[in-house]
Point group: C2
Amino acid sequence: MITIKDIADALSMSHSTVSRALNNHKAINEQTRIKVQETAARMGYIPNSGARMMRGLSSRLVGLIVPNVQNEFFSALARVLSNNCALYGYSMMLGISEDDPVREQEQIEALVQSRALGVMIAPSERSTVATRRLLKAIPCVQLLRYEPQLGGLAVRVNEERAIHTATDHLAAQGHRQIGYIGTLETTSTGASRLAGFRAACRDHGGEVDSALIRLGPPSPEYGSQAVHELLSMRPDLTGLVIGSPRQMSGALLALRERGVAIPKQVSIVGYGDTEWFQVATVPLTAMALPVRDMSEQATALLFSAIGNQAGTTTSFPHKELIFEATLVARHSTAMPSVDIAVKS
Amino acid sequence: MITIKDIADALSMSHSTVSRALNNHKAINEQTRIKVQETAARMGYIPNSGARMMRGLSSRLVGLIVPNVQNEFFSALARVLSNNCALYGYSMMLGISEDDPVREQEQIEALVQSRALGVMIAPSERSTVATRRLLKAIPCVQLLRYEPQLGGLAVRVNEERAIHTATDHLAAQGHRQIGYIGTLETTSTGASRLAGFRAACRDHGGEVDSALIRLGPPSPEYGSQAVHELLSMRPDLTGLVIGSPRQMSGALLALRERGVAIPKQVSIVGYGDTEWFQVATVPLTAMALPVRDMSEQATALLFSAIGNQAGTTTSFPHKELIFEATLVARHSTAMPSVDIAVKS
DNA sequence: TTGAAAGCGCTAACAA
DNA sequence: TTGTTAGCGCTTTCAA
């Protein structure tokens, strides 16, 4: 790797002149500037950002930490953040935590060691103490999931209301035996969604039957398993709320395996309006999240926090942005068929 | 930010002792080591990776550059690479090029400036000269797409054969008017896939009718547009090969808008077996790519190139791994209906 | 086992 | 307009 010193030697001048020339400093001879820049290009000089940083310059680095990137929400977020980084000349370090608090912590450590200017994070199920300590040192925006102990800024969905609305939609069509499949209560989103389901059940049916609830990882496999379990135990079920987009494809598969007609025998509402929902077996009714908008706002928030923090050393004010999901009615929901409805 | 010097002062010792203690150097008193490490933890010391790097230590950083991350292939790749990074204590910088050669170049520049140890890249449509120069300096694995000018290692799919097989599948069922929707020939993948389609057409029907071909960006929107155009111009079409997974959902939507029954009126074969293909309107026949396997191998290749390169300064041997796609037959393909078949 | 000192590549204050 | 010099935070000789 060639350095400014190599260029200086080649041109027999001082390395500080080279530095000035390369940084387009004002007090530099135009001739020199051009000569240096040409030589640098010819010799294949590439600045060492580590050395630059040590001289107090910014790392121009931000971090993104998400549990996975297969999820439409997170991949859209990565895209938006990346676009903004490109705009401002930042780089982005991506950490995929796989919902493992330790891995998450390691990734944040690496970020802070690289002196990243800020982090966007969808926190994993539990944060370690180290994670919490590290995040004090750097502007941080929590997206989608929210872990109060991390503090900082947050952009999220009113998950509880979203699932409440989804459940209401089924209840309004006459469903009484409604099942819920979703993620574990260990994440803030899992817990809120379940709470929304419970609240809606209380509003409509009375007590909540926990035999109608299945919680597990956000994978197609679990979606399938949960449907099988649910339908075996409760064949009288006529409506199903699926609280995780990743569980949906497995659920649909299982429904088909069991020969269950949608919406004739079972109505379905999804969460998160993934691209393929409208071309699924039956076009799926779902709660649509303002994915793009949330990502944009979160990114704006992050960059403004980075900007503000430039001068001050104080910690960051708490601020929260909460978005509402909207019901997109398609054809996976309908009134329960009479023979079944009669039972309830 | 506190430094080893702050710790040294607090403990009134030399900062080199602190450094030794923190790095578990052999020649250090156990007492001192513990004391230093405790103090460091208490004071919230975080090493400066920039400074470390300047002392010749590795950056433990790899880069991933992809056109987007909404695509199942690339998101799976990101996951595999991230997992391996976590395993070896590396960090990953993610660049999303949006298929813009300039943005791609900027991201690679940032990578080399940060002294990343290697890059995994799915190159954009055209590489800039700067990109090509930069990538000489650092081990690089091209994945999926292949740009010969970049050289280095490559892991990819026999795209031509894959689309050939897809087309053969339709032809074998009796289809003669087969359309192709795919991405532009400006990427290596777009060109190879189209070549595969053309070759298959020649094998079966004779000349290739370019009115049966529609090329555009890998977006659902374009998929939809292309179907509308194709069916308006060629209502006699009975089979359709869709050469980009992202175009599929739009295509299905358009087909439904036009009231075209799959496979009764039009048979469809997709490329890349995305998760939802089996729960689509009709379970989709598609060419499945060994996504996981390719990502793993590419990652292994990258890390081994990084390892080898440690000593040497020589450039990297060229090596290519080519994978085959396999046909997954589902229910979106069937014999053309008689009234139409009769025409051909 | 520790400290003093050099130096990685760079920028910037100070002189000339 | 340029050169000299210091120093960012760190690791690593070399001495003690």
